[in-house]
């Protein structure tokens, strides 16, 4: 339900606070940072998917003129690190497990010399048998990738709620099928990079384009074997993250090792090829068998999943991603009896990891197609099937997720209207079809250190401007602007009078950073808390100066005034100065904090994982060309429930950008792999959507208010790409009667499926007759 609150800054279409720098070329990204005496770092990568390192000889490389440092595992503490399992090393210890793995690195006075030196490092290899397919890797006798990880299984999950056997027995329709998703690369236009220096006292300062500063600090410190505060992370402008820059890779650690050894600042900026080989960890590809039982009227009775997820060579965040794929969707519809099994399996390929949507896009690719199949089998409009099963406020999922605000039904209604769904269905045209899918996402998730919170500090400067110190960071998604709006709203300041600092682990308190659609909700709540404390200090001082009672004071337009007699007022600048410049003076400053009302899932994965859930529904109208197999998206519509929209420009941008990534995932993105090695790791072979690929898009926000969110807001960033691939596949089925079960949906696959259908047609008719 929407709340009738009027806001002055929240909800306004405001320009980005960092926008001026970005449109003038003035924003400093990590590749733009140059420190005096800075060296160029380059990394020697494994050419083999699985091999023993018998010997490394770096002597020749060290002697090359201009080389200042060469590092190998011998320069490290040989301690594993990782988000959940400490299974990866900064530089390979003893063996390599995928093509692209970091083996050694060089810092030199320029790039050419650094690269020449890489060629002079002598390595004696002993190739090992490798395995690339997770199902093969799970078999007895498959090459073992990590000691002690039997059958290469990194993690298993097996959860049953209710009684799945009985639920299927009581179902009147059972639909099952198997679907496969592909790795998807983030393809942020800016690659991962770092600039590191190490002071003589041993303190590392690392400029990074990371989305999660404090998590980066924690992992880097662990890998370097130093205390957390021995590492200072300063965020540069970030050229797109989407999960790929959440520090699951070795770039910054290797950079820090080179800086320590050379006693000079060093930068390592991934090339585009390195980014594909070993940079951002691509979306975990999964093989999903899904089975669902329905009552005749369409109500979901049972759901069972069996997921085999490809972990790649090291784990990163894949364990959590597989968990999300296994469980999250059970918060979208009303489920009672569910069973889910997931296996996360090591292979000799690039480690997979976090990409916008986490496990959701893979799971929804399967589950939302089962929903569609069920609708067609039951003779129910897919839209009605979704509406009938949609979660409501107050719904508790079988795994304990407690839904507070939920406008999924409203989203479905909006999609129906924007698409003219019923009208178009009534007048179906040949080769054209409609498809839809629904989704749920979290607003932050409790899984690191039993903390699902955030913090921020706000100080009011002597000129009356407020400065937010926040460690959440800005990755391009607009977090900084949203936080400034939230602070401005709470403090009664114009937006121009609120600034936000660059995120810096030495200058801000602990924040988890940008993942899990959490920053506006969790970080925003922390900013609001800090702002309300600052406001209290302003009111204290104003009451003194205006000789008024605090209850009679209000804040607006940069002033505190007496309600009713607005001329009795004092500006925030006057207050800041009055409080500071006097005997016993003090600055106006306060820290705020927020921890969501979520719980850490127990050993059975039960527990409310997030403070708020966001919902969405999307639909497409497509045309399938029977001659070429081309799928043309004629119209795309999306509706999102993200609570209060803090900045419509930013929120629309999130929705539009995620639909674009979703369409890329559905239709074009993928990389040809040979023996675990991407064949052409570049932007001409891995194509992402360009302007001419984008269909007409209509988008709407549900009228919604999240009671636990800052001014009613909750998460949004990932929602928009979760269901997109299923939407397209469902629409293709409606258009042409074919179901594509592997991603991406290429014209070749469509043609092949069309051919199979036309070959099958006669037999089907015969069978129907025989049945009748």
């Amino acid at each position: 339900m929407a709340k009738t609150e009027t806001f002055s800054v929240v909800g306004q279409r405001v320009n980005r606070v960092e926008g001026y720098d970005k449109v003038t070329g003035g924003a400093k990204y990590v590749a733009d940072i140059v420190l005096p005496g800075m060296l160029v770092g380059r990394i020697l990568r494994s050419p083999y998917p699985h091999a023993k390192i018998v010997k490394i000889d770096t002597r020749k490389a060290e002697k090359l003129r201009g080389v200042k440092a060469v590092v190998t595992a011998e320069d490290t503490i040989k301690q594993g690190w990782g988000a959940f399992f400490p299974d990866q090393y900064p530089l390979s210890v003893g063996k390599v497990r995928y093509v692209g793995e970091e083996v050694a690195a060089v810092a030199a006075i320029d790039q050419d010399i650094a690269e020449e030196a890489l060629g002079m490092i002598d390595i004696e290899w002993e190739e090992l048998p490798a395995v690339f397919d997770p199902e093969q890797a799970m078999k007895e006798g498959a090459p073992l990738i990590h000691e002690g990880k039997e059958r290469n299984i990194a993690m298993t999950l097996d959860v049953e709620r209710g009684n799945i056997e009985r639920a299927f027995a009581e179902s009147e329709l059972i639909v099952e099928d198997t679907f496969e998703s592909t790795p998807q690369w983030h393809c942020a236009i800016e690659t991962i990079g770092s600039v590191a220096e190490c002071s003589p006292s041993g303190k590392y300062t690392i400029y990074m384009n990371t989305q999660t500063l404090f998590m980066a600090r924690y992992r880097i410190a662990a890998a370097l074997g130093v205390r957390e505060t021995d590492v200072r992370i300063i965020q540069s402008a970030v050229g797109g993250g989407f999960g790929g820059k959440s520090c699951d890779d070795n770039n910054a650690i290797v950079c820090a090792l080179l800086a320590r050894k050379s006693c000079k600042p060093v930068n390592i900026i991934n090339t585009r090829e390195e980014e594909f080989l070993a940079g951002s960890r691509p979306r975990v590809n999964m093989n999903i068998w899904a089975k669902m039982g329905f009552k005749k009227d369409g109500r979901i009775r049972a759901k069972q999943l069996r997921i085999i997820a490809d972990n790649g060579a090291y784990s990163g965040k894949a364990p959590a991603i597989a968990g999300v794929a296994a469980l999250r969707h059970d918060t979208c519809y009303k489920y009672s009896d569910v069973k889910t099994q997931a296996y996360l399996v090591y292979t000799n390929k690039i480690p997979t990891g976090a990409f916008r949507g986490f496990g959701n896009p893979s799971a929804e690719w399967a589950v939302e197609q089962i929903m569609d199949k069920a609708a067609h089998n039951l003779g129910i409009d897919p839209l009605d099937l979704a509406r009938m099963n949609a979660a409501d406020p107050g719904y508790v999922s079988p795994h304990g997720n407690r839904v507070t605000s939920c406008e999924l039904r409203q989203c479905i209604d909006l999609v129906e209207k924007m698409m003219d769904w019923k009208g178009k269905r009534a007048q179906k045209k040949p080769n054209r079809g409609l498809g839809l899918a629904c989704t749920v996402h979290v607003s932050g998730k409790r899984h690191f250190g039993d903390y699902d919170g955030g913090s921020a500090t706000i100080k009011v400067n002597e000129d009356g401007k407020a400065l937010i110190l926040s460690g959440e960071g800005e990755v391009g998604q607009g977090a900084a602007t949203a936080m400034c709006q939230i602070a401005a709203e709470e403090l009664g300041l114009p937006l121009e009078d609120v600034e936000i600092s660059r995120a810096d682990t030495d200058m801000t308190t602990f924040c988890l950073g940008a993942f899990g659609s959490r920053v506006t909700y969790v970080g925003g709540n922390a900013v609001k808390d800090a702002a309300s404390k600052v406001k209290q200090q302003l009111l204290d001082t104003a009451a003194e100066m205006l000789e008024a009672r605090q209850e009679d004071l209000a804040a607006a337009n940069g002033k505190i005034f007496v309600r009713g007699s607005e001329t009795r007022s004092v500006t925030v600048a006057q207050l800041a100065r009055a409080r500071l410049f006097r005997r016993g003076g003090a600055p106006i400053v306060a820290s705020g904090s927020f921890d969501a009302d979520s719980v850490l899932q127990d050993a059975t994965r039960y527990g409310n994982e997030s403070g708020a859930y966001n919902f969405g529904c999307q639909a497409a109208e497509v045309e399938v060309d029977p001659e070429t197999g081309q799928v043309k998206v004629l119209k795309y519509v999306a509706a999102s429930d993200c609570g209060t929209v803090i900045n419509p420009i930013g929120a629309e941008g999130q929705a539009e950008g995620s639909v674009a990534q979703g369409l890329g995932y559905a239709l074009i993105e993928g990389l040809k792999m040979e023996d675990g090695r991407p064949v052409n790791p570049n932007f001409s072979d891995y194509r992402i959507p360009s302007m001419r690929d984008m269909p007409p898009l209509e988008h709407a926000f549900a009228d919604s208010y999240e009671p636990t969110g800052p001014f009613g807001a909750k998460g949004l960033g990932e929602l928009g790409m979760d269901p997109t691939a299923a939407v397209i596949s469902n629409a293709i089925f409606d258009a042409a009667g074919i179901r594509i079960k592997t991603l991406p949906i290429t014209p070749e696959k469509v043609l092949k499926a069309l051919k199979a259908v036309s070959n099958q047609e006669p037999t089907r008719k015969v069978k129907l007759k025989a049945d009748g």
Binding site: K22, V23, G25, D32, I189, G240, F581, S658, F683
Partner: protein, 179 residues
């Protein structure tokens, strides 16, 4: 062997000492010191490195710096004049035609080259032309809106005022009052 090359960038002359195979992209970023031009793919596909040379849009990652001697090079840094943004920059800012901003210098340069040659393009023409500039953040809708807005002069009038460099008088901390 390094050699001296004179580049004219945004109306100013720069003498730089570079290898003959130095790419314009790296010469601009590292030798001239203008880092607004970005590197995204290094193979001429993404458009992040777009600059204008003698009125023509080029990918600076595919262009030798040496070949640009005596030519007029315009980069993103050359668009704002006297603290006033170029209409395209204003439009990108006002219509939200960027998020992370790393593709933005290239997008704006590409749009400028288009509007310089064709001040009144159709939406289809803009889509076709701008398809050489990849953006992973926006889905392109707001970029298209911004380019069309700049072409049709749909930038709000108070916008410039809001973004003009501010001057301020700092209040004195002098505790000794003037006699």
């Amino acid at each position: 062997m390094k050699r001296f090359v004179a580049l004219k960038v945004n109306g100013e002359e720069y003498d730089i000492d570079i290898e003959p195979n130095r790419l314009l992209l790296h010469a601009l970023r590292e030798d001239v010191g203008l880092t607004g031009t970005k590197e995204g793919c290094s193979i001429g596909v993404c458009g992040a490195c777009s600059v204008i040379v003698d009125g023509k849009l080029v990918s600076s990652c595919l262009t030798l710096a040496l070949a640009c001697q005596g030519k007029e090079i315009t980069t993103i840094e050359g668009l704002a004049k006297d603290g006033r943004l170029h209409p395209l920059q204003q439009a990108f800012l006002e219509y939200g035609g960027f998020q992370c901003g790393v593709c933005t210098p290239g997008q704006i340069m590409a749009a400028k080259a288009l509007l310089d040659a064709n001040p009144n393009p159709t939406e289809e023409e803009v889509k076709e032309w701008m398809s050489g500039n990849l953006c992973r953040c926006t889905g392109y809708y707001k970029i298209l809106e911004a380019v069309m807005a700049a072409a049709h002069n749909k930038i709000s009038s108070d916008f410039q005022v809001k973004h003009e460099r501010k001057t301020a008088k700092i209040q004195s901390l002098n505790v000794y009052k003037d006699s």
